[in-house]
């Protein structure tokens, strides 16, 4: 536990020091929000949630790539891959909460007649899904540019694809559209249930995949045996 916390604290410090990146990430959801603020209030909520997801998964992507160099050394100095990946996730989740709270407050102040609780739920799920999603991309794609392009594609598709289309359920942020409909258009609870199920499933599966990818990459190789000193 201590080891996970040490990794989490260090990862948080690293994230916070990338000031310019942080500022861009913080402003990105705002741009999304304002883009539809004038004509379609409800749409601006959907967009700001996607913006939070995009910002956090981008941050996770960069954090994951930056850690590649030092992780083998940390593994050798006594960390398990689980310590490393959970520590980093904790740090990203913390940043994600910090990122979404101001936007939730903005919606509270700026919007009327929506289900605030459901919006809070979207944001919580967004943070839970976006962090492992970005880390997973960094584990699979060695270069940041490729990961960024994939993220761009996913978020773009998420915006343009009809949520009713079955194929769009394969996108990681689909739940935000579904629960969004429930929160904004006051539809029946089916939307909430479907969204919640998909969101939780993605959060769990992505987290497990990140843990597995890290365990494979930082595995103890079979040719090397440590004998007690």
């Amino acid at each position: 536990m201590t080891r996970t916390l040490v990794v989490a604290e260090t990862a948080l410090r690293e994230l916070v020091r990338r000031r310019s990146v942080l500022v861009i990430l913080l402003l990105l959801p705002l741009a999304f929000y304002l883009s539809r603020r004038g004509d379609h209030l409800g749409q601006s909520i959907r967009f700001v949630c996607l913006g939070v997801g995009w910002a956090l998964s981008t941050a996770a992507l960069f954090a994951g790539s930056a850690a590649r160099g030092i992780e083998p050394r940390l593994r050798l100095s006594g960390y398990r891959s689980l310590h490393l990946v959970l520590g980093r996730l904790l740090a990203l989740w913390t940043v994600g909460v910090g990122l979404s709270v101001p936007y939730f407050v903005l919606i509270l102040v700026d919007q009327r007649d929506v289900r605030y609780g459901a919006i809070a739920l979207i944001m919580a799920l967004m943070v839970a899904v976006a962090a492992p999603f970005g880390l997973l991309l960094s584990a699979v794609l060695p270069r940041e540019l490729e990961g960024t392009l994939v993220l761009l594609t996913v978020v773009g598709l998420q915006m343009v694809m009809d949520p009713a289309d079955t194929a769009s359920r394969a996108l990681p942020f689909w739940f935000s559209r579904e629960i969004g409909t429930y929160a904004i258009d006051h539809t029946d609870g089916g939307y909430l249930t479907r969204g919640l199920t998909q969101g939780i499933a993605f959060a769990v599966v992505l987290t497990l995949l990140v843990v597995a990818a890290s365990a494979v990459r930082l595995r103890q190789r079979r040719h090397l045996r440590f004998v007690g000193a």
């Binding site: 201590t2 080891r3 040490v6 990794v7 260090t10 410090r13 690293e14 020091r17 990338r18 930056a66 850690a67 160099g69 030092i70 083998p72 050394r73 940390l74 050798l76 100095s77 006594g78 960390y79 103890q220 190789r221 079979r222 040719h223 090397l224 045996r225 440590f226 004998v227 007690g228 000193a229």
Partner: protein
């Protein structure tokens, strides 16, 4: 420079030139006596401290290399039959290396002869096509570059790597700063690794490998970017670690260091040697 400052500088330079602590004491005391009796300025009588230290070291026929009674300890690292191929080319062909506690092994060879690959296999970062590595105790690894985090300062590195070894933040920081001091470096608080020079970053890298006193140290040309003084400090430290019973493997291309080590593993293939 007054007498005391000159004598202090001489002490440091003698150490850097590999003169043992006992002899250093004698040389410094004798110089102090001479200065007291003659009343002359040290720079006039002895010249600059580093030049005089070099003259003393030369008169000994080189640095005081190994303590007189050393028995090699138990085996710490045993690599057997290590074979590695890259794109159909055999880089390492059934390489064996056994290093005991209190021994330094140098891995030498031409560029591309697989020195770093061999070390990475020993560290378990790369899998070989055949062969095994047994390590008794903990492993410290200093990569050729990388191995540090751009946005963290030295103390945070110490805390992070030390945390893996089970050290508290304070213990890790103290151990890290002591290791840095031995390389004539006192890490400025708050300076992130990305703002350090290449040589200084390598010092950090080396100190990190040593945190928590692992029994086996794998060093991949860790002295790149070091100035001459730090380079001497580095070897002095390596000898000290050896005398403390560590098993050390150093990748090097500098053949003039080979007389200071216990084992040499030459990865140059016979074919290359003939060419």
């Amino acid at each position: 420079m007054n007498h005391n400052a000159w004598l202090a500088a001489l002490t440091g330079e003698l150490r850097r030139h590999g003169v043992g602590p006992d002899l250093t004491g004698h040389v410094v005391a004798e110089a102090a006596t001479h200065l007291t009796e003659s009343g002359e300025h040290p720079l006039r009588v002895f010249g600059p401290p580093d030049a005089y230290a070099r003259a003393v070291a030369d008169s000994l026929g080189g640095p005081d290399r190994r303590p007189p009674h050393r028995r090699p300890g138990p085996v710490r690292l045993a690599a057997q039959g290590i074979t590695k191929r890259y794109r159909g080319r055999t880089v390492l062909d059934r390489v064996d290396l056994t290093v005991r506690a209190g021994e330094i092994a140098a891995v030498v060879g031409a560029n591309g002869s697989g020195k770093s690959t061999f070390l990475r296999i020993c560290a378990g970062l790369v899998s070989p096509d055949a062969g095994t590595v047994r390590v008794h105790g903990a492993l410290g690894y200093c990569p050729q570059d990388g191995g540090t985090a751009e946005f963290l300062d030295a103390d945070e590195h110490f805390a992070l790597v030390g945390g893996g070894r089970g050290l508290t933040r304070d213990t890790a920081r103290r151990a890290g700063r002591a290791g840095a001091a031995a390389l004539d470096w006192s890490p400025p608080a708050g300076t992130q690794a990305r703002h350090l020079s290449g040589g200084t970053r390598q010092k950090l890298n080396l100190v990190l490998a040593r945190l928590g006193e692992p029994e086996v140290l794998l060093l991949d040309e860790p002295y790149q970017g070091f100035d001459r003084g730090t380079y001497l400090d580095f070897w002095h430290e390596v000898w000290r670690w050896r005398d403390a019973g560590k098993a050390i493997v150093v990748v090097t291309h500098l053949l003039n260091q080979l007389d200071r080590v216990d084992l040499v593993l030459d990865l140059t293939t016979p074919r290359e040697r003939a060419a």
